[in-house]
């Protein structure tokens, strides 16, 4: 597996597309247990990211991630901005100066992103947050190394998103709902699933070429 700068940009384009398609689903989910702004905020953020990324496609992966992270942090209101922004800023540190990354380097970047969001959000596994997707995926990638597959990554992301239905929220507005949050998907876990699904789809399409 070899992921290059162009793939990273395709990934973000696909994320933007999928987030847009699911904007009203995300909004409905977030109205149920959050502030109702998750879909709108993400669409706005990733649109802004694409505007910034377009002109300069020759940067290394670290520089691209730095740009994505800073844009998300400055343009997305709500918790998603600082959290996803931190994720990409952490990936930027790991992938600095690299023009292509392997499975192992991808795992290191995703793990750094998950740990960064864990620190920023002061949350842990099982709190019904986006970390319930990111942490298991980071572990999966670290364990699989070069044997990882996009198919399995996407499946695991879906399963982990679905699992958040069973959890009681301990962070954000949803935490005020206590056990009433059980039965609802966590909106952050859903957008995280879309992010990983977009990655898997873009990379699978590339490998088929």
């Amino acid at each position: 597996m070899k992921m290059e700068g162009a793939d990273l940009i395709h990934w973000i384009e696909e994320v933007n597309k999928q987030i847009k398609q699911h904007k009203s689903d995300l909004t409905k989910l977030d109205q149920a247990i959050g502030d109702g702004d998750h879909g709108i905020n993400l669409v706005r953020g990733f649109e802004a990211v694409l505007e910034k990324l377009m002109p300069k496609q020759d940067q290394d992966l670290g520089a691209i991630c730095q740009e994505i992270g800073m844009t998300l942090v400055t343009r997305v209101s709500g918790a998603a901005g600082p959290l996803y922004g931190t994720a990409f800023l952490k990936m930027a540190q790991v992938w600095k100066g690299k023009n292509a990354i392997s499975w192992v380097e991808l795992a290191q970047g995703i793990d750094a992103a998950a740990q960064g969001m864990k620190t920023r959000g002061r949350c842990k596994l099982g709190d019904k947050t986006l970390l319930d997707v990111w942490l298991p995926l980071a572990d999966f990638l670290l364990q699989q190394g070069e044997n990882a597959s996009w198919e399995e990554l996407e499946k695991l992301a879906f399963a982990k998103m679905e699992y958040t239905k069973t959890l009681e929220a301990r962070r954000g507005r949803a935490a005020f709902l206590g056990s009433r949050s059980i039965g609802h998907l966590d909106p952050g876990a859903v957008s995280s699933y879309l992010i990983f699904r977009a990655l898997a789809q873009v990379m699978k399409a590339k490998e088929m070429e």
């Binding site: 702004d37 905020n41 209101s77 709500g78 901005g81 600082p82 922004g85 920023r120």
Partner: protein
């Protein structure tokens, strides 16, 4: 004198609070970092950063915030301003905490004391019971 920054998802809320606090303690520098980039409901890194800079002095700044992600944005703003800057975030309810912080800052207390006073607002009894 320690400066006070009010971070809120609502510009109107923080501005109203600022007006109230200025009446109580006109000599304390107070700034508002509230609303998203467009001034709508939300929080913005730029606005918070600018607010901190506008009241910053060697004595430092105490930031109070309303809910959830306002904390993340405040932390990011402080990280961007640099580790050498004396800025502390108070874990306190916004209205009561800001009130206590402003009074304490007005007494020329140091940064640490202003933050601690704001945090004591958590224990404030608002309806005293007769013994």
């Amino acid at each position: 004198m320690v400066g006070i920054v009010l971070v809120s998802h609502s510009y109107e809320l923080a501005s109203g609070l600022k007006k109230m606090l200025e009446q109580i303690q006109p000599n304390v520098p107070i700034a508002v970092g509230a609303g998203d980039e467009e001034g709508e409901i939300g929080t913005s890194l730029h606005r918070i950063k600018e607010a901190i800079e506008s009241v910053y002095s060697e004595d430092g700044v105490v930031v109070l915030f309303d809910l959830g992600s306002a904390l993340f944005f405040t932390e990011l703003a402080i990280e961007e301003l640099g580790a050498d800057k004396k800025v502390q975030i108070a874990d306190a309810p916004l209205v009561e905490g800001a009130y206590m912080a402003v009074v304490q800052a007005g007494c020329n207390s140091p940064l640490e004391e202003v933050r601690q006073m704001a945090e004591q607002a958590k224990e404030l009894v608002k309806i005293p019971v007769d013994e």
